[in-house]
Symmetry: C2
Subunit: 218 residues, 2 copies
């Protein structure tokens, strides 16, 4: 669609959430050697209607061939460019406790271009430790280090009562995207993105539907 001459903020949030899923599915189709895919088929793999998929893509351009479908490789490249997956992203982790260690060890980040390049904690026992090749620094140094190091994303894995302070510090360093594992909402100024990873919230969003036909009755 040309009616959106690059104003990225005007794209519906739902579209932006779906793009990475399209990309991931296309990547797996590409591995399988598929060259062409229709909106129908790609959509059905993701429970998205064919019309929705085509409409989503139409915000960014015209990538398909009528009567044929989409070239898998080409659409994947376009999506990667649009989402920003064609570059490396530098991340700083704050909080290297049990959860933080699991995050550092997570193998899913690197292959997608996300790399943790700094780790901070405020516990003297943890500061100075080497975790997966990173030396844990004192959270007190966070602002000094990040102003020099230029990081794209902050990952918050501290207890809830410290999380907002950490978020504020990251924001002061110019970090524009935060992945928040702490169990609080987390307030950020306009222009900064924050996403919450909270399995308990996810569970609680499902128990609502479960409670009538509850399982211990099975």
């Amino acid at each position: 669609m040309i009616s959106n001459p690059y104003n990225p903020a005007r794209i519906p949030a739902g579209v932006v959430e779906r793009l990475p899923q399209y990309a991931r599915t296309l990547a797996s189709l590409e591995e399988q050697g598929r060259q062409v895919v229709s909106s129908q088929e790609l959509g059905s793999l993701l429970d998205v209607s064919a019309a929705q998929l085509r409409k989503d893509l139409s915000w960014f351009g015209r990538f398909g061939k009528q009567g044929r479908g989409y070239n898998v490789r080409q659409l994947l490249d376009e999506l990667r460019r649009i989402i920003g997956l064609n570059r490396q992203w530098r991340m700083a982790l704050v909080g290297v406790g049990r959860l933080g260690r699991a995050i550092v060890g997570y193998e899913g980040f690197t292959p997608q271009g996300f790399r943790i390049v700094e780790a901070f904690d405020s516990n003297p026992r943890i500061i100075g430790q080497r975790v997966d090749g990173l030396v844990v620094r004192d959270t007190a140094e966070l602002e000094a280090v990040l102003r020099a190091s230029s990081v794209d994303v902050g990952i918050v894995a501290v207890p809830g009562d410290q999380a907002q302070d950490v978020i504020d510090a990251l924001v002061r360093c110019g970090v524009k995207a935060i992945l928040n594992y702490a169990p609080i909402a987390g307030r950020v100024p306009r222009g900064v993105r924050i996403k919450r990873i909270d399995p308990v919230l996810a569970l609680q969003g499902m128990t609502y539907y479960l409670k009538q036909s509850a399982a211990s009755a099975k």
Copy 2:
């Protein structure tokens, strides 16, 4: 609102997502000793408009007092009842690798009433191991065990290429809610809920907004 005489499925999904957040914020207000809160104040703590908050609650009843606001304790109790937080939920974990171990060790589930009561893996080296008080069973036994044990939620923490098979098995056992940590979309039949915990997807949903004002330029 009485226009919804208990058809839980007709409640907008966004409402159901927000209820647990309201509950969590109310819980923290209660700890602080607050007795009354207005829609204005509760909303501002969560970046939700006062009107939205009131409308959300109106799907379930009338919990406030005009001119005064909401009784913190009472509203929290009502929400817990509505969401189903006033009971224990039994969960089965499938996949006890690095990620699975982190999930078992996560301290956030128990205080909210979520308990992992079974753990499965298909790796012979892991089967039989004791992890945080649980003995890991063979995934091959999953269906037999779960048909006896009655579990409310399945947690999938296996590699992507095994995830759909595990999901299918859980569904066959009558599990109606699945928390999916695997990097695939995961298809379930109607009537089964699935939620994905995928930090990479969350990151990719933010990089879209970052790419123009990218950080390595800072």
